[in-house]
């Protein structure tokens, strides 16, 4: 049930106190409550924004042998592991990763039993129907289903309850300091699960880690993941994993809201375009690979350009080749006209386009696969889909880096227990984005964030309940 009176927070000793209200927190809460524990969820966001980044997700990656739910054929441990190895370039913990992969298979039916509904792969994402199970209604529907299940199990939920500090004495957490309604409350518990996400919404922290340009980054998800609990734990000597300076950033539409733009701000036109910076210059091979494998690289590339902005330019022939974007393209009948609307130097842009067009060679353009249609004698080259930008009207979309999550996380073991300066904590577990750095040291595998959160959230909940039983 929803907490009515803030005084209730500090009235007694809870069995399991959970910081966060996203997927990982909810999975932990449900497991712990099913084992009979008295559970409290402390969600920092108001009810309308509950569910953190999880409310923006669309699918979850799952190992399976034969058809499972909406998933077809087979996706086995080895293939899953190889996919992970490729994107992380080895920055992963094989033991933990394989544990997550193996456990994912039993998670799908568990999710269904706890109210989550799946649907077939969305239009335009058919290539994922073997590896990723899509949520009917998306992540917010999943979050809603879990809140209903948790409340039916008697879990107490406090919204706008910001965890500020975890008090730890000799490897044991004793209470949390929680701000609610302008007051601090001392919330005592016997076991604690930390599932309050990364720190990407704290732009100052991001700027300290990445450099001042990070202030221009857009945050794709919730504004409530400020890393307060993470920082508090780090300050108390908790062991961490993952590069503290890095974040997963993808190139999204530059007009997106500062926070919570979510899925609709993605732009899939880059491979069919040329991308220029605000000086009208190209800076990277737009056709290196298919977009799902390149959108993260482009986040960094755009972040390195002046003012952290770029423009993707296509002509009439390419406008229907990608999923619709939520923002209308900027269009003009001439390149100069387009430059004017974008506020780019017209001559420079015209020259860039001319040089690109002159370097294009005839070939068999094929939007659906790496077609090898490449430029000749151009620096940087465009190695696929290099078709001239010559048929008006011309269209442009602006690009900015959009941060998905940060990599810094707490170090956990296979039972999701966090590690302090003197080894494993007695009664602190962590799940989800907050410990994902253990497995995803760099890169990203679509749908794996929810897998990590579900697997370790459930484990954390089970272990915490066992601890207090």
């Amino acid at each position: 049930m929803t907490l009515k009176n803030p005084k209730q927070l500090s009235a007694g000793v809870w069995d399991v106190v959970i910081a966060g209200g996203g997927n990982a927190a909810l999975c932990a809460a449900i497991e712990a409550a099913e084992k009979g524990a008295k559970v409290l969820i402390l969600e920092g966001a108001p009810k309308v924004y509950r569910g953190g980044n999880s409310r923006h997700t669309r699918n979850f990656r799952c190992m399976h042998h034969g058809d499972l739910g909406p998933l077809i054929e087979t996706y086995d441990e080895e293939e899953f592991w190889q996919d992970l190895l490729r994107v992380t370039k080895g920055e992963t913990d094989e033991d933990l990763a394989r544990h997550a992969i193996r456990t994912s298979e039993e998670c799908l039916p568990w999710m269904q039993e706890h109210g989550v509904r799946f649907q077939p792969s969305l239009a335009g994402t058919l290539s994922l129907d073997r590896t990723n199970a899509f949520f009917l209604g998306g992540g917010k529907a999943l979050v809603n289903a879990y809140y209903i299940t948790a409340e039916d199990l008697g879990v107490t939920v406090a919204y706008e309850a910001q965890v500020r500090h975890v008090e730890i004495v000799d490897r044991r957490a004793t209470h949390m300091d929680v701000e609610l309604g302008g007051e601090m409350h001392r919330v005592q518990g016997r076991a604690f699960v930390l599932a309050s996400g990364g720190f990407q919404s704290d732009l100052d922290w991001l700027a300290r880690a990445w450099g001042p340009s990070a202030k221009n980054f857009l945050i794709r998800g919730t504004r409530y993941n400020m890393g307060v609990v993470l920082k508090d734990m780090v300050d108390q000597g908790a062991e961490t994993v993952g590069d503290p300076t890095q974040c997963h950033a993808v190139a999204i539409d530059g007009r997106a809201p500062k926070f919570d733009g979510g899925i609709v701000t993605r732009l899939d036109c880059v491979p069919f375009s040329i991308v220029v910076n605000k000086d009208g210059q190209r800076f990277y091979d737009e056709g290196e690979d298919v977009w799902p494998k390149r959108y993260a690289i482009w986040g960094r590339l755009v972040a390195a350009q002046p003012d952290q902005v770029s423009y993707s330019i296509i002509d009439k022939r390419s406008i229907d080749l990608f999923m619709p974007s939520v923002y209308p393209p900027i269009s003009a009948d001439t390149i100069e006209g387009l430059a004017q609307q974008l506020g780019l130097p017209g001559n420079a842009l015209a020259q860039t386009v001319d040089e690109f067009n002159a370097a294009c060679r005839p070939g068999d353009f094929h939007p659906q696969k790496l077609d090898g249609v490449t430029t000749e004698g151009l620096e940087p080259p465009k190695t696929n889909w290099a078709r001239s930008i010559s048929e008006p009207p011309f269209y442009a979309y602006s690009l900015r880096p959009g941060v998905t999550f940060t990599y810094l996380g707490l170090k956990v073991d296979k039972s999701a227990r966090a590690t302090g300066p003197e080894g494993l904590y007695d009664n602190i577990w962590s799940a989800g984005e907050m410990m994902a750095g253990s497995i995803l040291g760099q890169g990203y595998l679509a749908g794996f964030g929810m897998t990590i959160g579900t697997v370790f959230g459930r484990i954390a909940g089970q272990e915490a309940a066992k601890h207090v039983a």
Partner: protein, 370 residues
Amino acid sequence: MSLDVTLQTDPGLISSDPIEEARRQIEICNACRYCEGFCSVFPAITREKVFADGDITQLANLCHNCRGCYYACQYTAPHEFDLNLPQALAAARTDSWERFAWPGGLARIFQARGEALAAALVVGTALMFAAIAALPGDGAGFYAWISHGAMVAIFLPAFLLPLFAIGIGLRRYWSEVGGVRVAWADLRDASLSAGRMKNLDGGQGQGCNFEKEERFSDARRHVHHAVMYGFLLCFASTSSGTVMHYVFDMQAPYGFWSLPKLLGVPGGILLTVGCAGMLMLRRRADPALGTPGRSSGERGFIWLLGFAGFSGLVLYAVGGTWLTGPVLALHLGGVLAFFLLTPYSKMAHGFYRFAALVRDAQDQRVRADV
């Protein structure tokens, strides 16, 4: 329909025009698609990239206001995209019925104002009292109170005129949404969908989110079923009576084991119970997810329909007593008001909804053929 992508709407430009606003929200959904599995609206959205006015009208009429997409949406207020697709489509839908209605203007009054419907009921009833007083019959049963000729003289036009008006509205609808020649398969698919109210089942049979917010429930589908089948049974009852009268020369009153009664009594019960249930669910549902400014008219319509059904049952119950006359006037007054207002009240939605389902089946078939 291939339109220029530059016609796309800025997602931040919230509009007070129902079509513009629905278009803005639909374009956001098309870039998201998370709700694809809830209903027929989303798959239809993903078939386009930009949307003409007719496309919006079609999508709006396809929506059953199950509200699944509202509670699942990550962009609802206070998010700046301010998504409320059930409301946006409801507004565009109501707007389309008011535009298509013939003669124009009437629909705006009766869809908006419950008082207008109540007034129509009073006038209808008064008319029937007057008719009973002036034109008593010499037959048995009802025809002892009002002559068969008078009944026909009143109800034949009261039935045919609205039908004609609805026909005009549907023609306007069909041309706006770009419908083509209807195939039997389209009618079959639409009937199957309407018969089960598939679009209220949440896509997987879990039901809709009408009255319990995030929780799914089948209550609305069940009461709506009761209303629809109750209405159809009552209609069939009247039709069977007409056929018996003219074809088989069997005059009313009919006994309990006759076709008109066997259809009419369960029909009346279903209609009454369904309307009562509908009104109860509406009290629990969030009005902000329905058509803005049409609540009173919608409620009034349910009362009117329920009244027609319930008074029919009462009429049967009081049969043979002195109450028959007054109750007959009330019942026939209700039926008269209901018939005459069909093109201009919420009742119109049944016709347009069915047309939208036919069009959707047709659109899928035509696209599958090429």
